[in-house]
Structure formats: structure tokens, C-alpha cells
Symmetry: C2
Subunit: 330 residues, 2 copies
């Protein structure tokens, strides 16, 4: 776009995701980070780039004129259901609301204030929901006579790690979700298998026990845990606190969207999209920043209200102009 004025972006919330957005902003020179809003005392926050202004969250409504797009980096359970509708009345926003079942009601809650105030609010960006969602609907549209499979991993699952940590006697733990290679091969080869939960993914835990705790009952408590582990083949490894800190601190994740289908009787076509992420929050943040650029452009085009990744032309995510994209990137 070769914009002379950078897009002014601010961050609401400075956890892993907010810090990831800070990092991503450094790779996008057409945007400028104009502020970080936090619920902590602002003087306690150390921005990645010294000199980035830090403000208390409650000062935000007064800053509407200074911000082109506000990236909401709070959680989907507590923060976004409140912040999304509230800030969509004041700012153009991007968020990563990821409670799949509640997306329709969240969309409605954000859409009304955004439309009433002529703002553009992109919800549920990231990789799932987000890039995986796009690949699921494109796969279905391009190969209607087919089947879609989503596999996650290898990846660290925060929710499952927390569940293990709550077991009495556990001093520390992480849980990895791993796709089963044989199931992925069946998904790819066009045979359209019906894959049970246990066939698609397995779970692997690395657990540190408190002093004097026996491993047997902890292992049993994990593998039989309803909703989390009972439906999976789960491996439990007991390790030292040092090994946990040394080898299991990275928030790696990723996954696969595989669509296989037929275009005529004997013709199988397979589309596969995959991510291999050293850092789940940093990648999600990178997606949010690219969509902040798109939101700024949609707003300039007069497209107000709530939007999802399904509503955004891919070209709007690129810093290049439409002419540049046609000349060099098609």
C-alpha cells in the first residue's frame, strides 16, 4: 500500500498473546504500536520496545481518536465477552475469540455496537478458529464430494496441562496432543474413513511428582479422567522438575486440515494445510496483526459491523497494493 501514514495499532492486555502482538508489530513497518493497555499498574509493565506508551485499561475510552485498530488480547472466557462489545463501540477491533460454540452469539453482541458506531470489528482470528476455518470452508467448496479432517498437534494443550496439575500429588505437568500418523494417512488417501476420537489423536503427559508421592495412582487418575483423557490413548512420563523446566517450556503447537474428495468416479484430489509452530501465541498474534491491517482497510471502505475471516479478501492482509500483488504474487 506504501501508506505514508502508518496504521496506529494498540494492544489491550499484555499476557502471552499481547506480548506476541508486540513482537509481530516489529515485522510490519506499515503499522505503529501506539499503546499497550493493561489492568496491572502501568509502571510495572516492561514493553518489548522501550518507549512504547503504557496506559491503564480504564483510560482507553478517552483515546479513541488516537487508535486506528485495537487488538484485544484477553481470554475468551472472562475478558472478550465483556470487552468485545464494549470496545467495538469505540474502536475498530480484532480479537481471537475461540469458544467455537459461542461464536454466533458473540458475533451478534459485537455486531450491534460496531454498526451503531460505524466501527469494524473482526472476531475469532488466529489459526483455529482462523486459518484452519478458511481452509475447512475452501476445502468443502472446492471438493464438495469429500470429507474434511482436522488434526491438532504436536502441541502443548494448556487446558489439559492444567487438568493434570490439579491432581493431588502433582507438582508440575505439561500435556501434548499428538496426531496419529496412520489416521492422517487414511484421511489423505481419499478413503473417507470414519475416525473415532481415539484413532485421531493420542495424548502424552510429562509429570513432576511432589516428594514421596507414588506414581501409580497419579497415572491412573490421569488416564481415566473424563472429558480430558478417558477417550484417548494416553502416555504418562514422570520426570524431574529440572527436566520439565528445561525441555517443556515452549508453547509449541500446530496441526493439519485435510480435505480429500472426488471430482469424478476414479479421481481423488487431496488438499492439505498444515502449521508447525514453535510458539502458538506468537503465531496467533501474527495473524491478529495481519487482520488489523485488513480491518483498517475495511473500515476505510465503509464496511462496518462484526466480521469474520470468511468476510475478508486475502489481498487486504498483505502490505502490498492490489497492483503489486497482481504483478508479482499471482
Amino acid at each position: 500500500m506504501n501508506m505514508t501514514e502508518p496504521i496506529r495499532v494498540a494492544i489491550a492486555g499484555h499476557g502471552n498473546l499481547g506480548r506476541g502482538v508486540e513482537a509481530a508489530m516489529g515485522h510490519n513497518p506499515d503499522m505503529q504500536l501506539v499503546g499497550i493497555y493493561t489492568r496491572r499498574p502501568p509502571e510495572q509493565l516492561r514493553p518489548r520496545q522501550p518507549g512504547t506508551p503504557v496506559f491503564a485499561m480504564e483510560t482507553q475510552p478517552g483515546h479513541a481518536g488516537r487508535i486506528d485498530v485495537l487488538i484485544l488480547c484477553g481470554g475468551s472466557r472472562e475478558d472478550l465477552p465483556r470487552q468485545g462489545p464494549e470496545y467495538a463501540a469505540l474502536f475498530n477491533t480484532v480479537d481471537s475469540f475461540d469458544t467455537h460454540a459461542r461464536i454466533p452469539e458473540y458475533f451478534t453482541a459485537v455486531d450491534a455496537p460496531a454498526k451503531a458506531n460505524r466501527r469494524t470489528a473482526l472476531i475469532s482470528a488466529g489459526w483455529d478458529p482462523g486459518m484452519f476455518s478458511i481452509n475447512r470452508i475452501l476445502g468443502e467448496a472446492l471438493l464438495p464430494d469429500g470429507e474434511t479432517y482436522t488434526f491438532w498437534g504436536d502441541g502443548l494443550s494448556q487446558g489439559h496441562s492444567d487438568a493434570v496439575r490439579r491432581i493431588p500429588g502433582v507438582a508440575g505437568a505439561v500435556q501434548y496432543t499428538r496426531p496419529v500418523p496412520a489416521a492422517m494417512e487414511r484421511a489423505r488417501n481419499g478413503s473417507r474413513p470414519a475416525l473415532a476420537t481415539r484413532e485421531k489423536h493420542r495424548r502424552e503427559c510429562f509429570v513432576v511428582l511432589q516428594d514421596g508421592v507414588e506414581p501409580g495412582p497419579v497415572r491412573e487418575a490421569i488416564v481415566t479422567m473424563e472429558h480430558y483423557f478417558a477417550d484417548y490413548d494416553t502416555t504418562v512420563n514422570f520426570i524431574s522438575a529440572e527436566e520439565l523446566a528445561r525441555n517443556h517450556a515452549a508453547m509449541m503447537h500446530g496441526g493439519f486440515v485435510i480435505r480429500s474428495g472426488k471430482t469424478s468416479a476414479n479421481t481423488t484430489q487431496t488438499i492439505e494445510y498444515s502449521l508447525k509452530l514453535d510458539s502458538n501465541p506468537e503465531f496467533t498474534a501474527s495473524v491478529l496483526v495481519a487482520y488489523a491491517r485488513a480491518v483498517h482497510r475495511l473500515h476505510a471502505m465503509g464496511q462496518f459491523g462484526a466480521k469474520t475471516v470468511f468476510d475478508v479478501p486475502p489481498g487486504l492482509l498483505s502490505p502490498r497494493s492490489a497492483e503489486q500483488l497482481r504483478a508479482g504474487q499471482l
Copy 2:
């Protein structure tokens, strides 16, 4: 969309691609194939579905009111440079113009008549250009500090097969382009290698010799051929006409778009999109049909002129409504 009125689609040109569009139409019940236009005598054409109307190409201008979207299935060298601008004045169109270097001038040639006549003309759809292009620009937008690699194959290359067939003494031939696995691994691992042409792909030919022809000089003519084979490691296999017909008739193709980049100093993220196609023309045709749906909707929204895949929100390719997509597909 649950449209009560199906989208009326017609096909211009009935080669491999046009026949693929016919096949794809059968998988999209929200669309109706209302005609096939051919330069051959219409009575000689056998449509896939008996009863599909077949017309002479020159009758087309008189049928503008009957067709919502015309899919141009001609070639990029001879047909589309003439047909694209001509038909964009009369119909909403979709085409697969794939001469990458000439896309900007083709866009301009189609844009003017489409705008002047309030038509929507989507150019250069398919998989490359097309789905691969989308993945190239998204990869760059999501991971600005990174490198993109496109690999093609395993796939039958029509142009290279033709080049081998033109060598004196050759009775028949096919050529496969194969990506080099070691190069793909280097592209994926984030080391951002500079990969020479010879490192990325190799070429494999299956050749039938005319009676009494010596293989040595034919092999030499192939592997030294400038622009086609000289820059590659090429394997030449001599086979019988029977084997050529039996094992090498399928128009398989595919490829990979790999983007690897860093979001912070020690964090590598890799995005990969791949296609494994039993039939190159049938998959390209499926893409064209999905974009025909999008073009019909863009036209209804008043978005006139030439468009590319970069301009189309992914949701418009799906037969589902935006509400349905948010509820079930995010």
C-alpha cells in the same frame, strides 16, 4: 445460501478443462449448467449429462440474458487474450488465465469492458495461479520475516512432454516434474536456504522410440535441451507404447507452498499448503466453479470490473450462508 433460483452457469470451450467443469457442476446443486459453447459443430459434442444444451460459440452474444456466469475454458495463449475482454463486456466471467508475467495487462484488458458494462470478471483462478497465490500472499502477510518456496509435482507437465515429443525419433512421451524431498525439508525447517533450480525439482521422462531409433542420441537431446531440461537433473526411461498408454495417461499434478519464518529470535513457524491431484484439469475446473458462485454474489453486490482471487472473501466460495458458516465452520 439456500438459493431458490440456481445460478445459471455456461461453459465456453469443451477441452479437458471444460469437461472438468461439467463434472464439477454435478457436485454443486445450487448451480445449473445451462449450456456448453463450442467451436466444433455442436452436434458432434457429447455432453456428460445428456440433455445439456450445446451451442455454436458464435451464438453466445445473443444469450447474455440466460447466463449468470460464463466459465471460459480456453487456453491462455490463443483463446483467453481475445475471449476474456470480449465476453467480459457481455457476461460475468471466470477464467484460468495462467501466463503469470502477462496477468497485469490481461487484468487491464478485461477490467475496462467489464466495468463499462457492469459485469464482474474473475481472472486467473485455478491452483497456480489461484490457491497457491492465496497461500503465497497469506504466508508473507502472516510471517513477514520469512521465505516462501513453491514446489510443483509430482506432476505431468504438458509443455515439457510436448518438447520431448518434438524430438526426431520419438513416437510418444510424457514428462513428470518431481520436487526434491531434501530441498523441501530445508524449506520447511526455517533455515531459509537459497535453492537453485536444479536443487528444487528433478525431471523424469518416459519415452517411446520409433522403430529402429537408437536411445542414446534421444536421451542426449532431452537432457541438454535449453530452457526445458538443461538446468535440471533429468532421468530418461524408454518404454513401450503399451506401457505409455497403460501407466501414463492420467493428468496427475500437485505441489507445495511452504512459508517458513521467525516471529521472534528463536521462534520458527512454518505454514504449508499442498495439493495432490489425480487430475489437474478436474481440480482446476472445481476451483473455477466455486469462483463462479463467488462472482455471481460479487456481481449482486455491485462489485464490477476485473477481480482476482485476492479480491474474493473466502466465504463467498461456499454454498452456505454467512450465518451457517459462522455457526458450524469457524
